[in-house]
């Protein structure tokens, strides 16, 4: 889960990293008031995406009037598909140097990695591509943590204009904040050195590991959940992973891998998936809620149900679907492919309840569903 700058910076401050004074504003008047208290400031759009500066979402203001004028333009602006609803009014900083610092989970070393570059202020992709020699990385043993001494070793040899000690301390504190908050990414870009030699975090990107949310009850509510459609919100409520797409072939399967593959195969045969919906894993008892939800999307033309039971038993999933059948009364052609744990029971249930047989394999079921949605009515009638 992403945290916007205003929610991420307190995480840094709590770990002892210096951040500029700031106030959150939701109206131009509030922004002007805040600027009156803070003085010369920066008005920063708060959206869960990057590239705010390039979109015009970050503006300098010397007076409350200027702050108000900028806030008027920025609030309501759309940046990367997000409408700006809040701005951070932050004290202007005297920037002498801009660095980059981050801690992230690294699949290669299977541990945290600390990253630091003297080339801050731009995208990390650009830093890595243009000045890879200036990017220093250290793999961390998560059992031991990351000390100031290790940070000093990481930045040894770099010219930081006398801010070496401050940067090393900041990196160690950044690691502590990462470890304490189940971060998968905690990034300061830019980490600045001011004219007076202070090391200050000017921006912060914080992504919390979704699997850590449960044990971060105080912090998690401050994050920005993914923007969901109405049906996706229903899915979340049921604990079912549902992603709405723009096609008309409903995909209902178990397991992320199989569900993705069902979409791939529907597309391979010329169909357009209407959704990703998986009821595997812990959601495998939720066939009823899943069927009601997927049929709720307007304009759907066919449904492919693809069960390959391992942990998720086909008979249990089928039981849930059939339970919902009478209530929901699907009026579109439905095609089944069933294999794995509990398959024989599931096939019998399908036959007994609906008089249907599954198609011989997933390709056949996906092709039939794609054809039915594309108007090959004869195919659908035969299959049913």
């Amino acid at each position: 889960m992403n945290f916007e700058e205003y929610a991420a910076k307190p995480v840094l401050a709590a770990a002892g990293i210096t951040v500029p004074a700031s106030e959150l504003a939701t109206t131009p008047i509030e922004a002007a008031d805040a600027a009156g208290r803070i003085g010369g400031c920066v008005i920063k759009a708060q959206v869960p995406t990057g590239k705010r500066g390039k979109a015009g979402g970050i503006q300098l203001a010397d007076t409350p009037d200027e702050a108000k004028a900028h806030a008027e333009k920025i609030i309501g602006m759309e940046i990367g598909g997000h409408v700006v609803e809040k701005v951070l009014v932050e004290a202007k900083s005297d920037i002498k140097r801009e660095f980059y610092a981050a801690i992230l989970n690294d699949p290669e070393t299977k541990g945290p990695v600390v990253m630091f570059s003297t080339e801050g202020g731009m995208d990390i992709e650009e830093i890595a591509a243009e000045t890879p020699d200036k990017l220093k990385t250290a793999a961390v043993d998560i059992r031991k943590g990351f000390s100031v001494e290790q940070a000093k070793a990481l930045i040894a040899g770099l010219d930081l204009d006398g801010a070496e000690a401050g940067v090393a301390e900041t990196l160690a504190k950044l690691y502590d904040a990462y470890a304490a908050n189940d971060a998968e990414l905690l990034e300061i870009n830019p980490l600045i050195v001011t004219g007076s030699g202070d090391v200050v975090a000017l921006d912060c990107k914080f992504v919390m590991d979704d699997s850590g949310i449960k044990r971060q009850p105080d912090l998690a509510p401050k994050g920005t959940p993914d923007k969901l459609t109405e049906l996706e919100t229903v899915g979340e409520g049921h604990g079912i992973k549902y992603i709405e797409l723009d096609g008309n072939v409903i995909v209902l399967a178990n397991g992320a891998g199989l569900t993705m593959t069902t979409m791939d195969v529907v597309r391979h045969y010329g169909g357009k998936p209407a959704n990703f919906c998986e009821i595997g894993g812990e959601a495998y008892t939720k066939g009823k809620q899943a069927l009601e939800m997927v049929l709720g999307k307007p304009g759907v033309k066919s449904l492919v149900v693809n069960f390959c039971g391992a942990f998720a038993r086909c008979d249990v999933m089928m039981g849930g679907l059939l339970e919902a059948w009478d209530e929901v009364q699907p009026d579109i052609p439905v095609f089944f492919s069933i294999a794995g744990t509990g398959d024989e029971e599931a096939i019998k249930m399908l036959k007994d309840k609906l008089g249907l047989d599954p198609l011989p394999n997933m390709d056949a079921a996906c092709k039939a569903a794609a054809d039915a949605a594309n108007g090959s009515a004869a195919v659908a009638a035969d299959a049913n």
Binding site: M115, M260, E282
Partner: protein, 291 residues
């Protein structure tokens, strides 16, 4: 140790739970050498006909074990895995989904130091066909698993079930299956699994099921290029919409790896037959075995 054999002794952590019980019974019926289970609250009792211990360390001292299978909730996984590592487990199969990644990394560091192999988290487990299985794959389903000479690797259990069914339906059989898990950070990578199956006696061909994201398939492709045994691969997610964007800094680790196109081209350059749909695996194996 990646591949469990019939002579190996297996501990079930979380044996007394509903899923632990159901799957322990299936494993025992199939031939897995379950020596005991762990549940601190029921230590000293018997469950599924085997002793229940307070810790894995106790189990090691009493009957001894080679591998542990964990039916443990997400926030309990770290302590359970560290217990098994301390006990001296050679292999731990972690089935649990939604384990906090920092806990996973902690376990990985401890396992590396102790020389313990971790499979998972978020895996359906492994099957050594006709001998034993660990986890919750339908090893006992004859339409999914028939003995043979194909080695199968998958990040996803459901997709593996499909692939194994297709292999069996095409008249081939399976020697061993390694489910490596769907989490971003896992103990046994595609490359580790590929090496293990390549070196496992009786495996003559490999079917590999990958997914978009990460760079494991690309890393495996480098090794695949050096192998004599034929490989057929399916990569799931070609039709997936651009999902959650990788974290800013994550992109640096991933580079341009992780997309369907990247994985397909890396594998094809290594001589791997990349399948359009999983149903094509039979034809691919027939072609490879005839060559």
């Amino acid at each position: 140790m990646h591949i469990c054999r019939s002579e190996h002794k297996v501990l079930i952590q979380g044996i007394t739970g509903k899923q632990g019980t159901f799957w322990t019974e299936r494993m025992q019926e199939y031939g897995t050498g379950v020596m005991g289970g762990v549940n601190p609250k029921k230590a000293g009792t018997q469950h599924c006909g085997v002793p229940v211990y307070a810790t894995a360390v106790d189990a090691m001292q009493d009957g001894g074990f080679d591998a542990s299978v964990m039916f443990i909730p997400p926030l309990g996984m770290k302590a359970a895995a560290l217990d098994a590592i301390e006990a001296g487990a050679k292999l731990i199969v972690c089935l649990t989904e939604h384990v906090p990644v920092q806990d996973v990394m902690y376990v990985m560091a401890a396992a590396k130091e102790a020389g313990t192999t971790i499979i998972g988290p978020n895996t359906a487990g492994t099957v050594t066909v006709g001998e034993c299985f660990l986890g919750f794959m339908p090893a006992f389903n004859e339409r999914i698993f028939q003995p043979g000479n194909v080695g199968v690797i998958s990040r996803s259990g459901s997709l593996a079930t499909l692939m194994c069914q297709n292999i069996t339906a095409a008249g081939f059989g399976i020697k061993a299956f390694l489910g490596i898990g769907g989490d971003p950070i896992i103990g046994t990578t595609t490359l580790d699994a590929l090496k293990a199956l390549d070196q496992f006696e009786g495996v003559e061909a490999i079917a590999m099921v990958g997914e978009i994201g990460g760079s494991m398939e690309e890393a495996a492709a480098e090794y695949a290029a050096t192998m004599d045994k034929p490989i057929a691969a399916f990569i799931a997610g070609g039709a997936a919409p651009p999902g959650k964007k990788m974290g800013h800094a994550g992109a640096i680790v991933m580079g341009d790896k992780g997309t369907y196109a990247s994985k397909k081209s890396a594998l094809e350059a290594a001589g791997v037959n990349v399948l359009a749909t999983p149903s094509h695996v039979g034809d691919a194996l027939r072609e490879a075995m005839a060559a």
